[in-house]
């Protein structure tokens, strides 16, 4: 029987099934449990109240990322409610003996950046975290998905989850990406194509020559956004790029264990004739830089496009939703995207805060300055180690010289749980993943773009086609 990558990962982890019916609930073993401060306190509390202990401590890696300040941390967190949540994580980890990168640790960062960076995310694993962007880790040929707090407790207590197998979808992107087009644009183009609910009930495998050509950073950006297409899990087959990335990382196997692991990892791809429940194909050459105009990631168009006109939409619910989104975003139908002016620029988040993202953005900024109408431009590296690497390469100097603020790592203005946020009516070019109402601050208006597009917009003060910038070359 020919199997998909998802089939292989699933089969490897089923501990028990209630019946032979493939649709019945299965008990699935979890290899890696990533924990952060927002979705874990209630799980630890319930675990304790029930008199239970974590099943396997060395499967857990914890870090605070959502609430942490991105400015000077030497005085701790000033917001008492945020501080309590971070302190609670620290206490739970200390009490139970869980490995945690605390706020002052250089390894601290966004949970979906540090897992792969540390080699804590490995091919063939099941990886869970109480965070929907756990799909990011699927870039390594593992089965990774977000869970709720009850499930966090379930994994702590049993090392397993009760779940049903998803349907499978293959999204192939063939050919070569155009100049200035990135993994973020692939992700947004896919969501524009299949919709934010298009992947509901599916595990998506991204394949095709354009995906194979992506770096691990690019694959992580793509898998990160699988959830914005409705899919709990996104994944990419293991290849040389994957294995090369992992080698030598602190949590990765070494010596004999490495030699033992690699041949197994190389089996983690779909068999040639494996059958998927749904297949979608895109031509890489057809994908242009993307910009969202609305309050859902599927409300997206190309940089040479226009804000759509609700009057042209036949379906009443859709027309109403589109008008509502335009009202919230303060946009007029038919406005060219390149005439949308911005107030703030945010480069960061688990989608686009890795070293490659910062290098790409710095390449656009180098020697230039943010436009006069940009009130604030932030660069928030994904981890302390990304920050350190960027500083070694002098990227911080490029950003600072251009008028960007160079911050400490964390989720920051992707969801504005800390002090980094938009005020009502402000418009932001953001490299994050969600443009929902209020996501970056109450009344804030978010346009999702790639790092190079955000950087170019910061310099121009409005969206511009990065492909047309002078001095920008491959």
């Amino acid at each position: 029987m020919k199997r998909t990558l998802y089939d292989k990962l699933w089969d490897q982890h089923v501990v028990h099934t209630e019946s032979a019916d493939p649709n019945s609930m299965a008990l699935v073993y979890i290899d890696r449990h990533l924990v952060h401060e927002v979705t874990s306190p209630q799980a630890f509390e319930s675990l304790k109240l029930a008199g239970r202990k974590p099943w396997r401590l060395n499967s857990i890696l914890a870090v605070a990322d959502h609430n942490v300040p991105t400015t000077d941390r030497s005085h701790g967190i000033h917001d008492p409610i945020s501080r309590l949540q971070v302190d609670t994580l620290d206490q739970n980890c200390d009490e139970l003996g869980i490995t945690e990168f605390k706020m002052q640790d250089v390894r601290q960062g966004i949970v979906h950046v540090i897992g792969p960076e540390q080699g804590a995310t490995l091919p063939g694993m099941t990886v869970v975290c109480g965070d929907s962007h756990t799909s990011t880790h699927g870039a390594f040929g593992c089965l990774a998905f977000g869970i709720g707090t009850s499930e966090v407790e379930h994994v702590l207590a049993t090392q397993c989850l009760l779940m049903k197998k998803s349907k499978s979808m293959r999204i192939s992107v063939e050919g070569e990406l155009g100049f200035g087009v990135t993994a973020k644009d692939i992700a947004l183009a896919i969501i524009g194509e299949i919709g934010t609910a298009g992947g509901t009930g599916y595990a998506i495998e991204f394949s095709g020559s354009a995906i194979r050509a992506l770096s691990m950073e690019g694959r992580m950006t793509l898998c990160n956004m699988a959830i914005e297409a409705g899919a709990r899990a996104g994944m990419v087959a293991v290849d040389d790029t994957t294995i090369k990335y992992i080698k030598g990382r602190p949590f990765a196997p070494r010596d004999d264990l490495w030699e033992q692991a690699v041949p197994y990892w190389r089996t983690l791809h779909s068999d040639a004739d494996a059958v998927f429940n749904r297949t979608v194909t895109l031509e890489a050459a057809d994908i242009s830089p993307q910009v969202t105009w609305g309050t859902s990631p599927e409300m997206v168009t190309t940089i040479d496009g226009k804000v759509p006109d609700p009057a042209l939409i036949a379906d009443e619910v859709k027309r109403h939703d589109m008008q509502h989104a335009l009202d919230y975003m303060g946009l007029q139908a038919n406005t060219p995207i390149q005439q949308i002016y911005l107030d703030k620029v945010f480069i960061g988040s688990c989608t686009n805060s890795r070293i490659e993202d910062l290098r790409a953005a710095a390449g656009i900024i180098n020697g230039k300055h943010i436009a006069a109408n940009i009130k604030q431009a932030l660069v928030v590296p994904g981890s302390g180690l990304v920050k350190q690497q960027a500083e070694q390469e002098g990227l911080d100097k490029i950003f600072r010289a251009a008028g960007f603020e160079w911050r400490e790592p964390g989720c920051s203005m992707c969801l504005a749980m800390n002090d980094d946020r938009l005020v009502a009516g402000e418009r932001c070019a953001s490299t994050s993943n969600r443009n929902f109402e209020g996501r970056q601050g109450p009344g804030g208006r978010t346009h999702l773009v790639s790092p190079v597009m955000a950087a170019a917009a910061a310099v121009a003060g409005h969206f511009v086609d990065v492909r047309g910038l002078s001095g920008f070359a491959k």
Binding site: Q42, D131, E151, F436, G438
Partner: protein
């Protein structure tokens, strides 16, 4: 988890598609380390005219009189009727917690986001998927008729109208069993503890790098 019994409840219509978890419970309320008290901030940005922060007294806040849950006819609603892809976005269980804490016991929609759907069952909140055409009809009825109520019979897997229309829904047999009996899933899983240990031992032998 409490047992889910058959009940008849008032229906409130939230006529929007793609209602995301940031709308259901905005992030500033996620800083709580408790599991209760989220109901007062359900749909906070739509429900109130002023900006909400944790610790505010909701009785002192400015109510948005136009928001559907603030209309007198929908007070004490227990069934939320809404549109496709409800609960999209983050994995925050605070979203089902806030809906339940507000007083909802059932959410009816043509479709739900996966993680939200799954989270609901863990706390005894029942998400029901009905055909878009049936949801359209229910929207018409609830808007026309004040005091519109539906009966939800999980045993029979049916939503029943006052004039005895039955709309059958699907629910996974295991989840149904857990809801009807108010079972603790962790307790159930731990009945397989021996099997988990054996699985783990085998995995440790075959893929030792995962346990280093």
């Amino acid at each position: 988890m409490n047992k889910f019994d058959t009940f008849t409840g008032l229906v409130a219509p939230l006529d929007r598609a793609n209602v995301d978890t940031d709308a259901i419970i905005p992030k500033q309320f996620l800083k709580s380390i408790k599991r209760s008290g989220f109901g007062q901030n359900l749909f906070d940005e739509w429900r109130y005219l002023d900006h909400g922060e944790p610790g505010m007294d909701s009785a002192q806040r400015q109510i948005n009189p136009e928001f559907v849950l603030n209309l007198p006819r929908y007070q004490r609603a227990e069934i939320l009727l809404t549109r496709a892809n409800f609960g999209c976005g983050s994995s925050r269980e605070h979203a089902p917690w806030s809906l339940q804490d507000y007083g909802f016991r059932v959410i009816i929609a043509p479709s739900f986001a996966d993680i939200f759907f799954n989270n609901c069952f863990k706390i005894g909140l029942l998400p029901i998927v009905l055909d878009a055409a049936i949801v359209d009809r229910l929207f018409e009825e609830v808007k026309q008729k004040e005091g519109y109520r539906l009966t939800v019979d999980l045993q029979k897997q049916a939503v029943v109208t006052a004039d005895d229309q039955n709309y059958v829904f699907e629910v996974d047999a295991f989840r149904k069993h857990c809801l009807l009996n108010g079972l603790d899933e962790i307790g159930l899983t731990l009945q397989h503890a021996q099997k988990i240990k054996q699985f783990e031992q085998k995995r440790r032998t075959e893929q030792p790098w995962l346990f280093a």
